[in-house]
Amino acid sequence: MQYVIDVTKLTPEELRAKIHELAKEGKRIDGRAPDQHRPVRLEVGVLPNADGSALVAYGDTVAVAAVYGPREVHPRHLALPDRAILRVRYHMTPFSTHDERKRPEPTRREIEISKILREALEPVILLEQFPRTSIDVFIEIIQADGSTRVASITAASLALADAGIPMRDLVVGVSIGKIGDLVIVDLNRYEDAYGDGDMPIAVMCRRGLVTLLQADGQWTTEEIEKGLELAFRAAENIYRMMRDALKSKYIEASKIYQQ
């Protein structure tokens, strides 16, 4: 990531001040416009063993998702007679943050995010088509630079599609932030740490539905409405890229079959 200032030379207080100063002029520390998303990189089918997999990068944030299933449930009493159960795990590798080593055991934060991601995916998957089975989504954050949970949602969505799991729509994750009065799209780690609010959102673009919504900080209702609008717009772009990534994978695959 390129920054408009030398972030390594500033104390946390100076950095916080600088970020707010820039925001007053509608600018951001990495030179983006308020509604500009970082470059998005999508790769489908990256893990041979999984039924479906994807790598998603939002700038320097990298999430890898693997999908296994539909498959038998262990232990069996967890199975449901009328639909599949969904199992979701979000995990950060110990070396994925700029801080000191993170312990590998799941933190309370990771447990909460795993739940939130499951609840964001459940409304999308046609679980009722696979009674008594389990669909498993496992996510590892390899590198974190803000917005990891929304990158995870996008990766999970792609991996599910790659696994051929029928869905009502592709879900796209986008984070919205707030610095002073400026509402911005796709927080990096400095904007996350020194901003005034964080609002991760996941949407079903074609249906106009919100499947993940959290917020932190202090928001007026107008700011929230503005944020939702920006999120849907950014999601629309990523949605197109996702469709392309899936298409190109199947084109590549069909080429291989033709050989």
């Binding site: 946390p12 159960i85 199992r87 795993s114 539905l209 202090q218 928001w219 007026t220 209702t221």
Partner: protein, 283 residues
């Protein structure tokens, strides 16, 4: 504690009962007689527990949550060397419902505790700097422990209310530094500084048959299509947590408006209870 979030076993609710609840909702009412945006009866006993440094027992209809604050002394977090710490923990002991097995907090308990924590933290209800004893060395730590004694839905709002009322009744023991070590003098106490204007509360809504209902019962939570919790402080949104299902943008706008209305009423109730502490321990 498994690190995987798994689709939860649905409560077995007879089909007929489900349809009845929905039908009543469609008629603009609720099965316990409330209107869609009515809260259940709120009873708040503030500071009843002598062994705690602050406490509250909240009944939200049949949902009962006990909050106890214990004040400790420890090192500050490195990135906030002059601020005290707030640690919120919620437990659902097996007393609370027939479906609960003993064990460490599950993902639901962890999530509620974290939502309550964030709601309080972003509200400016507490002045974290006032909890500093010696910068970089010793600060007050506020341990807020929430125990659900009876679970009849909407643990979020009951837990948040209990936590906030318990904090409002908290007193800090005096701390002296002796030979670079803190000495806690439990007999001499000063009240914890709080800002009642910014009193943080959450308001939880469910969506059933396209209607938005506030303060859901356990039965309503079990059949709802969607659920969302909004944290409010002084008419600003300080937290959102969508849990079950999906919402349209219009739903969300609608819910924001309603939550600010409901916040006003609820805040009054809570502030009144805080003014009238109650040293008899009753559930």
């Amino acid at each position: 504690m498994s690190s995987v979030s798994i689709t939860q076993q649905p409560e077995i609710l007879p089909q007929l009962r489900k349809e009845t609840i929905k039908k009543i909702v469609e008629q603009g009412k609720r099965s316990d007689g409330r209107g869609h945006l009515d809260f259940r009866n709120v009873v708040l006993h503030v500071n009843p527990i002598k062994t705690a440094d602050g406490s509250a027992i909240v009944s939200l209809g049949n949902t009962k949550v006990v909050a106890g604050v214990k004040v400790g002394v420890g090192a500050p977090y490195p990135d906030t060397p002059d601020e005290g710490a707030l640690i919120v923990n919620l437990e659902t002991p097996p007393l609370a419902a027939p479906t609960i097995e003993p064990g460490p907090p599950d993902e639901n308990a962890i999530e509620i505790a974290r939502v309550v924590d964030r709601t309080i933290r972003h509200s400016n209800f507490l002045d974290f700097k006032s909890l500093c004893i010696v910068p970089k060395k010793f600060v007050y730590i506020l341990w807020v422990d929430l125990y659900v004694l009876n679970h009849d839905g909407n643990l979020y709002d009951a837990a948040c209310m209990a936590a906030v009322a318990a904090l409002a009744s908290t007193t800090l023991p005096k701390v002296e530094i002796e030979q670079e070590q803190p000495k806690i003098i439990r007999e001499e106490r000063i009240p914890l500084k709080v800002n009642p204007e910014n009193l943080p509360l959450t308001i939880t809504f469910v969506k059933i048959s396209n209607s938005i209902l506030a303060d859901p019962t356990l039965e309503e939570e079990n059949i709802c299509d969607s659920r969302i919790t909004i944290g409010i402080s002084n008419n600003k949104v300080v937290s959102i947590q969508k849990t079950i299902g999906t919402f349209t943008i219009d739903d969300i706008k609608n819910i924001m408006r309603k939550s600010i209305e409901l916040y006003g009423k609820l805040k009054e109730t809570v502030l009144k209870a805080i003014m009238n502490p109650d040293r008899e321990l009753r559930l």
